[in-house]
Amino acid sequence: MALIEIRAVSREFPGRGRKAPAIHALDGVDLEIESGEIVGIVGYSGAGKSTLLRLINALDRPTSGTVTVDGSVVSALTERQLLPVRAEIGMIFQQFNLLSSRTVWGNIAYPLQVAGVPKSEHQRRISDLLHFVGLADKAHAWPNELSGGQKQRVGIARALATNPKILLADEPTSALDPQTTDEVLALLRRVNEEFGITIVLITHEMEVVRTLAHRVAVMEKGRIVETGPVFDLFANPQHEATRRFVSTLVEQGPPERTRERLRERHEGRFVTLSLRDESVTPSDVFAQLIDRGVRFELIHGGVEDVNGRTFGHLTLALTGDPARVDEAITAVSGMVETTEVP
């Protein structure tokens, strides 16, 4: 049995105004999350990803369907019955949501107080957590004295205080600059690797998914339209929405408006090589071209590391004897997916 099981879940919100139709925030969603996984839920705003996340710790309830966490059907529990369950599920937020009336120490102590952890154990637990997130020197600082990245690290320490099994991350890096984002993502990876905590992450940034997630679920209009291991989704996106998201990071060949400009500056035939398989590297391909005396120039694209594997699209301009170029394209097509750019 999976750690989190979301079955046929729908969530309707009443429309604004009396006669307005209900809004289907979620529409028949199924998702299973195994213990120890990092699952990224990707979608544009309004796709329903926030609603989905909030069902897991029952901050919100489904209109129909069930949500099971670690064997208990959280969607059917009363608010009171949920209190101990929630200690097992940490949560971090885009806007950090720290208590401004408490210091860093007080913020991390709060969930311990709520869970009834004896005060004698607070000291050790909190200082361990502060060391883990690298803020040992900020214990007595107030939240308004911290930078965004530091606030999120306090948020992470606070979410981990009660040793949860699951960490829900609601756009955890969307309010941070790129460098701080990397630091926070690295910290979340350690949370997963060192403590084995399952992370469910929602984001609209493919970069976050690429660096952190093992598996992705792509959402659109309240449904999960595609799900799978991150590399597969990047390498071989099936749904239009997934393709759009992947292209925000790696474009599958030059888009139309770029092609014209490329034509002005480069001669020859344009081909896009899609690298998805470790067995063929760009240098293997280039060797084929060199062997046939075909000159090539890299004019568009790039490669990315996804879960330790290389993936990307490279567009080359090939020049030389037309017959040789033809032959080279045929040879290359046998090695990697090759698309001629019109």
Partner: protein, 219 residues
């Protein structure tokens, strides 16, 4: 000026009575206003414990009592004050009616200040497994403490204003002193002496309130 030194004892007594009435009404009205304000806040649509019936009812009650001018309220509520405090004349019924007026005023101030608390923080506490009651006392009120202190300071100043009307039911205080010994005896110096003391009380109150709020808000 000579008359003022003759009236010195009455002057200090009036000052003391004003402070007594204000503090008494603040204590009673402050607690009741806090509770009523919390009720208004939590029962709102989308609130922590939204309840349409209670929300509409408590709003109607607050909106009914709040616009009544204090001088009319103190006269109209005299029978009730007599029933509760045992007497219709003096400082006690004045405190009672001031506390009623303060309750409704403070309730609105409390409600408004609680609304400034970021709902995200309340949600975070809920996600940690905190119960509603715990959230109210350990998150909501501490997060709103700075603005609440300023709100209560505002209420104290309003109570000093109300206390000046206490003379209507035979209460003492600086307002009564100014009317009886100043206005009615055409002694402007005495009237202004009372005004001066009221100004001092208000200035000191506001200064303390601001300082305390600044300390709580750490800015």
């Amino acid at each position: 000026m000579d008359r003022l030194s003759e009236l010195q004892d009455f002057y200090w007594q009036a000052t003391f009575e004003t402070l007594y009435m204000v503090l008494g009404a603040l204590l009673l009205g402050g607690v009741c206003g806090l509770l009523l304000g919390l009720l208004l806040y939590v029962t709102r649509t989308g609130g922590i414990k939204s309840n349409r019936v209670v929300s509409v009812l408590s709003n109607v009650v607050v909106n009914t009592f709040r616009p009544i001018p204090f001088i009319i309220l103190i006269a109209a509520a005299q029978p009730l004050a007599r029933a509760v405090t045992g007497t219709g004349i003096g400082n006690k019924p004045a405190i009672f009616v001031m506390a009623i007026a303060a309750t409704f005023g403070i309730a609105r101030i409390v409600e408004q200040n609680l609304l400034t608390v970021d709902p995200g923080v309340l949600q975070a506490a809920r996600a940690m497994g905190a119960s509603r009651t715990r959230i109210i006392f350990t998150v909501l009120l501490p997060e709103a403490l700075g603005p609440l202190i300023l709100g209560y300071t505002f209420a104290v100043v309003a109570l000093v204003d109300m206390s000046a009307v206490a003379g209507v039911v035979g209460g003492g205080g600086l307002g009564n002193f100014a009317i009886v010994y100043g206005y009615r005896q055409f002694d402007t110096v005495v009237t202004w002496a009372a005004v001066l003391m009221i100004i001092v009380i208000v200035q000191v109150t506001q200064f303390c309130g601001n300082a305390l709020a600044r300390k709580v808000l750490r800015r």
